[in-house]
């Protein structure tokens, strides 16, 4: 089985979010980048397939050279090779188009992406990619098993979960549950050394134009201070929620 894991390179949640150039650009100054958490679960599941069932695992990112340390980290965790499509990630559609090209060229059976990325939280790329690559698609995936060309997945739905059966080629939008947190691997020295020798291929993008464009950014208005209610006058809280906040 040929597996491709899509890796999105995102600011760590604890990063300060600021904008520059009149609020039109994300300020990368001092921002710590990580593998999108949903992709880390996916990558770890891919390693399980590799070790238990035999599979090759490639990772891919659409982005500039600054994302290479993130791809190297994925290699250190155990992926066999990495691909970087050399173009900035503009919108979900453009990224999905580039990925679809990689999937078609590489003949992947299974593409593991994340439910959503934590930068734009679009939840767009995996579904678009599946439709473009003519593959089946299951998102919010919390369990995945593959047997030959058939697959069984569990996905989270509002208020519960459902089990589905499907077949390869398949794209999933994965999340926590795909593997447990305790299964996540921190790259060790040997992994890091080996990652340096693994191939990281830079491919030029195909021609695509974006369908949406973030023209400017804004931050929420600063929040007023919390209104404290004395633990002995909970009446007051009920009153505020009813008359002031109007939520009950």
């Amino acid at each position: 089985m040929k597996i491709l894991v899509c890796i999105s390179h995102v600011p760590d949640t604890t990063s300060k979010i600021n904008f520059t150039e009149n609020d039109t650009k994300f300020d990368t100054n001092g921002v710590q980048y990580v593998i999108n958490p949903n992709d880390e679960f996916g990558l770890t599941r891919a390693m399980w397939f590799k070790e238990k069932q035999g599979a090759s695992v490639d990772v891919v990112n659409v982005g500039g050279a600054e994302t290479e340390p993130t791809l190297r980290k994925a290699l250190a965790i155990g992926a066999d090779s990495a691909i970087r499509v050399n173009t900035p990630a503009t919108d979900g559609y453009a990224v999905a188009k580039q990925l679809a090209h990689v999937v078609n060229e590489g003949g992947y059976d299974l593409v593991i992406a994340g439910r959503e990325s934590i930068d734009y939280n679009g939840a767009m790329v995996p579904g678009m990619l599946a439709a473009m690559a003519n593959a089946n698609f299951v998102t919010n995936c919390i369990s995945l098993e593959v047997d030959g060309t058939s697959a069984k997945a569990v996905r989270e739905i509002d208020g519960g979960k459902e089990t589905v059966s499907t077949s390869l080629p398949l794209v999933i939008g994965g999340q926590k549950g795909l593997v447990e947190e305790s299964d996540l691997r921190i790259p060790n020295m040997r992994g890091i050394m080996m990652a340096r020798k693994k191939p990281l291929k830079v491919v030029e993008p195909t021609e695509v134009s974006a369908e949406t464009k973030a023209v400017s950014f804004e931050k929420p208005a600063p929040k007023g201070a919390v209104k404290l209610v004395d633990a002995d006058s909970i009446d007051e809280l009920v009153n505020l929620l009813h008359n002031e906040a109007k939520v009950i």
Binding site: P37, Y120, N121, N136, I157, G159, E218, V247
Partner: protein, 320 residues
């Protein structure tokens, strides 16, 4: 040309989110000087949509579509959008809508913006405000495509009634093979789900153990709320994984979020920031949650929550 809106239902009944997306679509239609067409699948009460601004309803009645199927539903909406020559398609942010929207976008060659929180600031080019960076910022997003898909963040617009009524037409386009078959569904039918809830009551590690959740459930029951929890609580097995909210769990965009014994770590807040009003109950006045909350009680949950339940019961009795 009209605006097409996908209205979700469950067991034949429209969801509240369906009324919200229609209300929103009506506001956008007014800006664009056009009308709203809604599409619904197996819903029995579609006439209601007229009261929120739909003037036409395409009703799909098909027993093979009882279980949600993203690819088939996307194909239905695509066919409806083409028939109606819709230039804007509006969806909610439910798990189902977010599942089908990207496939629909490819089918319609439409741009798609999810988590939109307001009516468009401009209709030409169509520009919407969407939340990004786990609700720490907003991106004003412009569409460059002819057809546009707007995914509305839940509870961001509310319900707005309008005068009028809707005509209902049966709609039954041919559908593709889906490739994904639902084998079984495991869903609590007697509880409000976090995604649908207007109020969410959430407990953290401060509650000490699973045996103390009785009061959380009781509070939720009084409020008609869904119950949720912080990540360590589900990791410890005190509560089911489906209740875990936050960056790595479910997103919450309720009108009211009550956090009990939750410290307010940034990864927790990332998932609940979209909620309108936040209340925190915590013994530690230094807990970071107090900086993110609108109302706070510094106190022991084991004393405060029972009191709150009692006062809410009295409030409800007085306002019944």
């Amino acid at each position: 040309m009209s605006i097409l809106v996908y209205t979700e239902s469950e067991n034949g009944k429209l969801k509240k989110a369906a009324l919200e997306v229609v209300s929103y679509a009506k506001a956008v239609a007014d800006q664009m000087d056009t009308s709203v067409t809604a599409i619904a699948v197996n819903a029995n009460d579609v006439e209601t949509l007229g009261n929120y601004g739909a003037s036409k309803i395409l009703l799909v009645k098909d027993t093979s579509l009882e279980a949600f199927n993203a690819k088939k539903y996307a194909a239905l909406i695509e066919a409806a959008a083409k028939q109606e020559d819709a230039k804007v398609v509006v969806l909610s942010s439910s798990a189902d809508s977010k599942y089908l929207a990207p496939m629909l976008a490819v089918g319609l060659e439409a741009g798609y913006a999810s988590n939109v929180v307001e009516v468009p600031s401009s209709v030409s080019p169509l520009t919407v405000k969407r939340s990004a960076f786990t609700n720490k910022a907003f991106a004003n997003t412009e569409f460059t495509t002819d057809v546009k898909i707007v995914g509305l963040s839940n509870n961001s617009f509310g319900l707005v009634e309008s005068e009028g009524s809707a005509s209902v037409e049966n709609f039954s386009p041919t559908l593709p093979e889906s490739g994904v078959t639902v084998e079984s569904v495991d869903k609590a039918t007697d509880k409000v789900s976090i995604a649908d809830a207007e109020i969410v009551v959430s407990g953290g590690r401060g509650l000490k153990g699973p045996e103390n959740w009785g009061m959380v459930e009781e509070l939720a029951e009084v409020l008609g709320a869904a119950t949720a929890c912080s990540k360590p609580v589900s990791d410890l097995g005190w509560r089911p994984h489906g209740e875990h909210v936050g960056q790595t769990g479910k997103p919450v965009a309720s009108n009211l979020y009550i956090a009990i014994g939750i410290s307010g770590a940034i990864q927790h807040l990332a998932g609940i920031n979209a909620s309108k009003v936040k209340v925190v109950i915590n013994t530690d006045p230094e807990a970071p949650f107090f900086k993110a909350a609108d109302y706070g009680v510094v106190g022991d949950a084991f004393e405060v929550v029972p009191k709150l339940i009692e006062k809410l019961k009295a409030f409800k009795a007085a306002n019944a």
